[in-house]
Symmetry: D4
Subunit: 253 residues, 8 copies
């Protein structure tokens, strides 16, 4: 209906009852929403290559199931993060093929045929407690089409475990480094890799970790170039950004 | 020139060479800037009732004089804040009638006939060192058309000095409270006044004032309702907002 | 009884047993509370146009019901914030017409005839999780006589949703912007609106949001003039201040 | 037994088997604990005018009852702070005359005849939620022999309520000001009183109160001279210090 | 002139033209400042036992000399803190007997006959760099009539130097402890002394001292009861409070 | 020389004096540096596609000129950041073709033939004071082979200026958003763009910006996916990462 | 299998089919993990004198029992920290001789013959609530072979209790000081001892302790030389480091 | 003279005029300083193996030269830290053999014959700007008798440079790791070394390094056991502690 007043205006132009200059003048005063605004307005899924995501925390199962239905009406893919088992049930009620990734606490629905992932995104995490955040990143990057490999439990205190992975670190197209405690892993990986590194500080740690502030500052101050950080525990954000970068570097966008 | 492609499109509609529906479709793909966007785009001065302001800090006199000229091309008013004597000279070269307010460190140009200020905005400051920030607020509010009165040096440690001003506090249409140290003045005034209070923390203080953090937190946590805070030392912001509110409460906007 | 000593003093003056000058001298030494202090002391409801509000958090239902009774003895209006269902029951026992606003977690009693609200206050919130705070602001502003409209779920990451509301943003007399995460909404709205903007940071977010510190700093540092902030999650404070600003001064409504 | 080696040494001196100079030399090499150290070592209760206090938080009822017994073996007074009902029971098992102060969450035992309190300590608190901390201060000061009066619910947003207490504020020998939210009360009282003011920030508040940091900074930055602060929620510390000061100012120590 | 309307009112009472009850009623509506407000309003010097102090930092020599003259018009004592040599010259122009205390950076004028100090205030400082703050406290306490003794350079890293002062620590009526670095001195002194301890953190230190935050937190968290803190580097505040505590109440010195 | 012991070992193997298994065993005990470590060790320039960079701040011109000579011995490119005019002179002494970028405070040497940049990196900055940081990012990305376009002075308070750039925002392969004050620009751009966004907070601002902390937190908490942050004022880091992302993988540039 | 390619290469050298120089060249291109890396890679237990430790927090009993089995396959010692009773049961299932240290919340298995501890490590703690952290340090140091003595409840507020331990403080080879509240104990002990002091801040305290930040800053700013700090509540880290140092100072490593 | 009263007392015992028990009693009341306190009091240099150090910052050359003379009266060694060239001149006036270490900003005097250092202390620093702090540590450790080796410019971003030093890292008896920026070096070294690691954060860095807070937190949260931290930029403290650890106990060097 937003288009109605614009359409009427154009019809007046066509019929000659409204001169072009006056039409231009009048368009300036149309309510904003009635302007043809599609390029910005629509197709968010198409534009960013991925439809809406549900952040479940703080939402009821009813709300989640309703949003899931709306998304799946126009998309073959769905990702729900910070999802508990109850949230999974809510989505499965709408999409029986939904899968639950319990370490990642994510639900995914992938209806279309899966395209083989382009480029390799490498997830590296420091300690066992960082794995849930790394898994959230992995699930996110995979549903966005990336091929993901993982190197978990490779903290810098046992640097050789990390160095044994040098080949894969060099082969990666993008790297996501997930670390709590002091977060030094991002700098070391940043020094070994030639690809972009997305660093995710986690709130894993105690004492002067201050809920993830310590690894966050470490990662922002990294002496290795080519590293940027996302928010504490934000595995989704890292996986999303890694998948975006991965496409670019493969020449797919 | 942005309008050109749109004009051509409308002319095609008028000539009948482009059906209305196709025209609508095509408009969706016009570059954004070519859309009739005036309502949002233009007349910032008209819209907010005040033209651009120059924040001098970090700008060269040359930059300042050039911006001043541009503003005065389409406005009778100009305000430059954080202005040193050299910045004043730069503006006086463009507008000989410019005035320098040295406590406020502001330059003003007021070319039009001055309308008598509507409503009274009361500036209250705690210590002598808070006066420059309060003066910046006063100069700002006055050039925006407010009538301003001031009560300086009325800190809460000598509460009677403040209480002697109760009449004026109750008469004010809006109040701006400027205080460093512990910033308690905002709460006390908020409890006495029936009008909105804009609180400005200042970086005046020492030790655990932490550059104004202490009075800022005090003001945000004020137990008196009807109080909001602007940034540390932001006299301009407080004066601007006070003038906006003042107009509203006078039924002028 | 406070008035007793003053009365006696005046009677001595009347009887001629105390010269006027000595009476003046003696009044200086009367205990403070015995002075005629009414203007400051009384009529808080009248003065600020609104009676006491109950902040329920940390109070027992018994305390709440008792305070509610006291307020309603001399007022037709009552607002209770941070109220759970039990608190609502406590108030309903005193005032059967009480209403519970569950998203806002507020209880209201409005006994008098409702005056049509003057001016429009627009509440804009960023995410769904910010709605409770926005609702607290709405309920507060409405019971103080404002006409409120709302635009919820208009975060800056989907800027077009916000831009579609440009007409209403420009029509508002005062705006309240409620946002967690990074709080950028306040700056964008501040740039679009010509009316004062009261910004409310919320504790919604995770990681480096640090309980609302991130949006609070964002709002205080807003590059848009005409914006001031209240405390984190303080919907009541924002609604109260917005209603004060919205209200025309005596004889101007 | 620590005294044994010293005694032997002295006996050798007396018997003439050890010359004085050699004795002096030898004393230098005695283990530290064997030196006559009584002045520093003993009589803590006597010295500070008050025996040990039990901080119950984090202790089991068994530990509490055992400590209580030890204290009461050599003292007529006992104070237990941060005490829950179970802790009270534990102490009552040892001292049936124990009293529980539930708002203050304190247990007291006062066996001796109570001396009439000297000097008046005035406890002033801002909001109802600050009362428990103020009560902890009151109970502490009273058991240490102070006469305490209280003015609760006298926040600066309703300054007249505080001003009505000017007489008592001026009569006090020491003042304890307890305030959360923005903590401005300490400055206002500091400006009215001529006696020392001990300020206690509380963790009451929300949002940018940051667990009491806001009132703490306010109090430390107080523009009124004669004010010092204790730790957040530390009613005990304030009451203890107030009682110490009270004695001094009465010439009792 | 404020007294005029009140005087007229009393004269009407005396003449019988205004009944007492109506006079009482009318007084309620007098402007606040016209009420006899002397008890709160005046005699600040008398009330707190000490006239105004000049905080020189941020004031011009002209301002300082003018304020000094005003204070000395009605007082025999003057204290100027944070005073440089130029500030001293400004005051000496007004009061030739002024003295400069260069370590304390204070100027004092003492015209009246000096009363012998009652009670002993002991200033203890940790390192040589803390001495200026301790000296500011000493000068302040002395001009307020206290007898002051000092123990400088008694940090806890050489605990024996402090322990050698145990006698004086026990003899003190009030103690002021000045310490930067980690500020542990306040706790140790608090454990040895039976008198109140005022702790002053200093900004002396480096690295994680964070401008005095470290010793401030140390002092607030002191495990010794009877300790309160003033602001960082606030020697004046500590000396002022110590002198207040030290002073016996009326008729008790 | 590190290779010597390894060479000797291999020669023993060749001569048959050392069996293969024993050789393997012995290699385990060679000093680390003597192992063939080239893949990790060498060719940093080749690996990351860019040779060493000189961070001039805190280095003497002599040090800078020496490092520059070393780099240019094996590279056609050189970048020096945080370079003052004196630093430029030092480099020009070694490489006469060096260019100084004064807004960016960078020096570049580009000796080889310049390859046409692949993909477009868009630098967007909020205020004029953010331009130096944006320029540092631009110079860095260009010398690494990116084609860069810039949109400066597009803060969110004048959102239309930004929206006029929607076409270029959508065309960009990577975006770098530079903003001080409240840093909201990153979220708005993140919502408009489909490409990765690297956000750079700047220390431009005052009061509660706390040296860039405010925009840093804003950017980390961005509600738009696809955004990551680098350190405050770190234009180099952002430009470097943007160029890495922009570059297609082997055979794709 | 990683050794395979290296072995083949060596065999080619032996057979003469690959010249030494070419072999060296080729080794540069072997995958990293195929290099003989044993010196860094293996024998962590041997190298640091202690096998892996299990940090139980955040691990399931199943995970714990599995890790315990793996460790005990090649070690006679096992330490599990942050272990609850359930974790103990899990380990006892694998190693019936496991012991639970409930204050320390540690589980230990010591199978080999216990060597008499060399050197004395002294654990000093301030308050009773600091004991669990001190006990974690004790259990850790003991299983690593240290002889440990303890002085608990020796806070600086009762300095004599600490001074009575001077002999043992001087006899210690390494000291671990555990303190919450204000953490001043580390400085005092650092001033008395001649051996290295490892300071452990604890989160014991309230108000402005900010979860252990206060004692942490105290310890880092210690005016006593020879003191270093580990993370808040990190008893394990302190005990581990103390045992390492103890060995060194005994000439055992 | 302190010994006088004790001596008299002993003489009374010897002469029989004072029974032993009464003597013991009397000693309890002697002033503290008169007790034989030598063990704690004296021989600080002997006890800690090193005489007083001069921290020059904030001291005048006169003060420095005077302290230097006093130290050298009873010691063959002197260390002055944070010393500028003028401070060096002041010391050279007293001790012509004084040496200035300009990178370390230290002055040393070593008069006695130098004993060969026992054990090797390895100083590792990350960036060139960290060298001054590392040098302060080196000079300190050397004058205390340690044999020091250095590995400078071995940041984790070029991990191979560090790994080439594995042999020396393993050979070290104690390690001092100096790093600014993100401080990750301490964790990596901690993972490689079997000896204790003292970590020194430096204030080198920019933006979110926050004056060294970032590397400090990194080091405190190190996931490698056996690491402790000293204050930001505290090279002296690290060198001092390293030398203490390095030193064998009596009879073990």
């Amino acid at each position: 209906m937003n288009q109605e007043s614009l359409k009427k205006l154009l019809e007046k132009v066509r019929s000659g009852s409204l001169p072009v200059d006056e039409a231009l003048q009048e368009m300036r005063h149309l309510p904003f929403a009635e302007l043809p605004f599609a390029k910005v307005d629509s197709h968010r899924g198409v534009r960013c290559g991925f439809p809406e995501v549900i952040f479940c925390q703080g939402k009821t199962p009813q709300q989640i199931s309703q949003i899931a239905r709306t998304i799946l009406d126009h998309s073959d893919l769905l990702l729900a993060t910070r999802a508990g088992p109850g949230d999974f049930e809510a989505i499965r009620g709408v999409a029986p093929e939904a899968r639950y990734h319990d370490q990642a606490r994510c639900v995914t629905v992938e209806r279309g045929e899966k395209k083989p992932g382009a480029g390799m995104v490498l997830m590296i995490s420091a300690g066992t407690s960082d794995i849930p955040v790394a898994e959230e990143a992995r699930v996110t990057a995979e549903i966005m089409g990336a091929r993901v490999e993982t190197v978990y439990d490779a903290g810098v205190a046992g640097i050789h475990r990390l160095l044994h992975q040098t080949e894969r670190i060099m082969a990666a197209n993008v790297l996501v480094v997930v670390a709590g405690m002091e977060g030094a892993l991002a700098s070391v990986v940043g020094g070994l890799a030639e690809a972009p590194v997305i660093a995710v500080p986690t709130s894993v740690g105690y004492g002067a970790s201050f809920g993830g502030l310590a690894p966050l500052l470490t990662m922002l101050n990294s002496c290795a170039a080519g590293v940027a950080a996302v928010n504490i525990d934000n595995g989704f954000g890292a996986g999303y950004l890694a998948a975006l970068i991965n496409r670019r570097r493969e020449g797919k966008d």
